[in-house]
Symmetry: C2
Subunit: 496 residues, 2 copies
């Protein structure tokens, strides 16, 4: 059937949508969300879209195209499209199989992921897939297939100078505020001479992702060509993965997990390993902090994940080492992009007030990584300490920043307030979720110079009147709200 | 934050949507699909909507409202709305509990269903709920809570003349083409003197729902007042349930099940029983046809469902009788609204060529229903036979049609074609799914006068050249396509 094109510049962000008159739908027996194939007869470009209805506004025989659709068809308003019914994608049959608890072979998983990337699945379809994976779990075979499919539906980088070269990488399973080890481990490893290109993510629900924090100091949106130059020059990079077309299916799956904030072990594993595979990593250190406020709550789950990571990595041809660390409180003192960047710089410059927990965690992780190369943990520890304390890591970091494109360090946010301890005692608990929330109330991660600074950490002694926490915000009302929230919270527990 | 209103007359059909500029979203730290509360400051009306982005077209500080939103706020273009972040509905927490396999109490289920009716859940949220119910199943307690919630979030009819009056009802679990027993059983039971108001559905994927077929003969979109009049006058009605606000949550849940065509026993049960409860039914006969092409594939599943129906019905205070019937082939000869209506009239008029299978099934079901009243199946069978063969049921049906609003019977579709048997033998199988597809290719259910007529049924002898099937369509191309499809299909299997 032929329709006159009306363009509505709305991006649905998920499956492409075409809006038709309700009468036209009735005549074609099309239901809401049913899939149709839309073709531009002038250039034969076509796209699969989901049907939506409208009652008023546009005349009959008009198809209102969302911008994804009009862009894909290279069509302008007033031209004509041809619309035909599209059978449900075969991926739906496989999703239904998974829903009933069957194991999917690699071909079926590939069909699903291909459909995801092509935007042929609606949110409903994809949610069935994600919830099936969540409830039934994924076998190792399935995780491997999934990882490979996610990699192959996107771009792959080749950063090796010669075929057998090892490429190092690290990943933290996350959930802790201030955990900015990436920006310290990468320059240390690169300063030692190993290649370690790192793609990081931005914050979704946290007050700062590594990409947000690095962006305070340097450009992080690099294209493939620029990325290759940076790695060639410095052995490393710390960039935002989202700027490249690596593992594009992954973001669409994560978007579905977000509303219920569920974590599906198998999907998480595939998501992490796909990103590593797509940059060509061969030797990977994975940090799993566990604790009440971390993504992984218990040591036993951390151990289970460790086993899975190592096993699946082996099948995929990657050497994976997993460390399980203390995730009971935020890492470092600052929370928010600029405050965290300052913590990182303090550690690299060996400042007297550098956060010790961040430094120790950095040394631990860097040594484990170098040990993967020289197989001597004692020696590795020595090397790492020397690289950090000599300033070699600091200089490597400056090289990386210059290569990516240095930025001028901004001032901290203009409104600040410090809350002092109402009693003397020992800090026995800091609620990571409250700290996260407070930093976001102050404006992080959007406002890079906003956030909170923790003067005291767990096990620290405090006297009455000692500064506990300082808030930074560019908005007076937000600051007031954060301070009020803090006073009524149990963000800090101080016991006599 | 204040936004100038731009109205886009698009109905999303699910959760209300507000479209904002991407920059505004970034400033407010709003993500795709996040929920916001939108208030019209002039009248204090407010609504919860999901956020969508756009890049171009509208200026910054503009909120484009889909028509559900502007209607709910009683707002016009150019006015201002106030937008604020809305915490995720608490229903999400309960959905997550169900996802992890926990049993939900009645309060939690009620919160979920309330949120469904208020449009506070996105498709993603609702799909998590449906898939959890599918995979983990629902306990009897949960099904009971769900049924009550679905009833209480909609309208309830009171059709009783006195408090203790019994109200009869019937339901078929479905899947078979041509299964129009409702239009026969209802007049028989009403002619006997029992009250039996029946709400039916339209076709979703079938070539005709009971409401579509009845609509050939009479009005089926009745409001509550008119419905009460019809039932008072005739003891019965056969109407489209969708015209009333009964069990509104149900349709939204069914919409989610549709893309993967999954059937969740517990949801199906709640959906059926909620519709019965909302019209006040007390004594219900449920028909579960089983067979390769029916909704229920095996006798053992049919038996399992029978047990569940009876048990849950008892808890809800309804007397339920379940019959398990042969669902191996379509019922009657005609498939498509008008062709099925003709079959019904033939049975009621005791025509010589009335489809015997439809008549026998009608007699069986009607006798079981009357037996629920007089507890004597032998006598019930006699009564039912007499009511049908004497023409009393026919006259009752005419009364119901007149009360609802009689329509002029249309002519059958103008293009027809008959396919003749290529061999002699016995029909051993008729593929219900192919028959369904063929009738839809011809234009049913949209074109009421389109469909197929089966001259032969399973176990019938056929000679070479006997007519097998006749196609009716108003579109010559559709007819050709259907005939071609039939010839290449295994819709009929004839064995020597």
């Amino acid at each position: 059937m032929r329709f006159k094109v009306k363009i509505i510049n709305i991006s649905t962000g998920s499956v492409p949508v075409v809006v038709l008159n309700r009468k036209d739908c009735a005549e074609m027996d099309l239901h809401l969300n049913e899939r149709v194939k839309i073709t531009n007869p002038k250039n034969n470009l076509s796209i699969i879209a989901a049907v939506d209805f409208y009652d008023k506004l546009f005349p009959k025989d008009t198809a209102a195209l969302m911008s994804e659709v009009s862009d894909a068809l290279k069509i302008t308003e007033g031209q004509y499209i041809v619309l035909s019914r599209e059978e449900s994608p075969i991926a739906l049959r496989y999703i239904k199989e998974k829903l009933t608890g069957k194991e999917l072979n690699s071909e079926k998983i590939n069909t699903i992921i291909q459909s995801v990337v092509e935007g042929r699945l609606t949110d409903i379809d994809l949610t069935y897939f994600v919830s099936s994976c969540y409830i039934h779990g994924l076998t190792n075979k399935e995780i491997v297939s999934l990882t490979k499919s996610i990699v192959h539906t996107g771009e792959m980088l080749n950063l090796k100078s010669h075929p057998g070269e090892h490429i190092y990488d690290k990943h933290c399973v996350g959930g802790l505020a201030g955990n900015r080890t990436t920006m310290l481990v990468i320059p240390i490893i690169a300063a030692y001479g190993l290649k370690i290109p790192k793609t990081s993510s931005r914050a979704i629900t946290s007050p700062a992702g590594t990409a947000d924090t690095m962006e305070v100091l340097a450009e992080v949106c690099l294209d493939t060509k620029k990325l290759e130059q940076v790695v060639k020059k410095t052995n490393a990079c710390i960039i935002w993965g989202g700027a490249l077309n690596l593992a594009p299916a992954d973001d669409k799956i994560i978007r579905i997990e977000h509303p219920l904030s569920i974590d599906t072990d198998g999907l998480m594993m595939a998501s992490i390993l796909a990103k590593k595979l797509s940059v060509g990593s061969t030797d990977i250190l994975i940090d799993i902090p566990y604790g009440e406020y971390a993504k992984v709550k218990t040591k036993s789950r951390a151990k289970k994940l460790r086993k899975m990571f190592i096993k699946i990595g082996r099948i995929l041809g990657m050497k994976i080492k997993v460390i399980i660390t203390d995730g009971s409180e935020p890492i470092g003192n600052g929370v928010g992009p600029l405050l965290e960047a300052i913590d990182v710089l303090k550690v690299l410059r060996n400042d007297a007030d550098a956060p010790l927990d961040l430094k120790n965690k950095t040394l631990l992780m860097s040594a484990e990584l170098i040990d993967m190369h020289i197989h001597n943990i004692k020696k590795s520890r020595k090397i790492v300490k020397e690289l950090l304390e000599s300033g070699k890591a600091y200089h490597k970091f400056m090289d990386i920043i210059d290569a990516q494109g240095r930025k001028k360090l901004p001032e901290l946010a203009k409104f600040t307030r410090t809350v002092f301890s109402p009693r003397s005692g020992i800090v026995t608990n800091i609620n990571n979720n409250d700290i996260t929330r407070l930093a976001r109330f102050c404006g992080a991660p959007k406002t890079k110079e906003a956030g909170v600074y923790m003067h005291k950490k767990v096990k620290n002694k405090v006297s009455f009147g000692d500064p506990l926490i300082t808030f930074y915000s560019n908005n007076q009302e937000s600051l007031d709200y954060a301070v009020e929230y803090f006073k009524n919270s149990t963000a800090y527990i101080i016991v006599k």
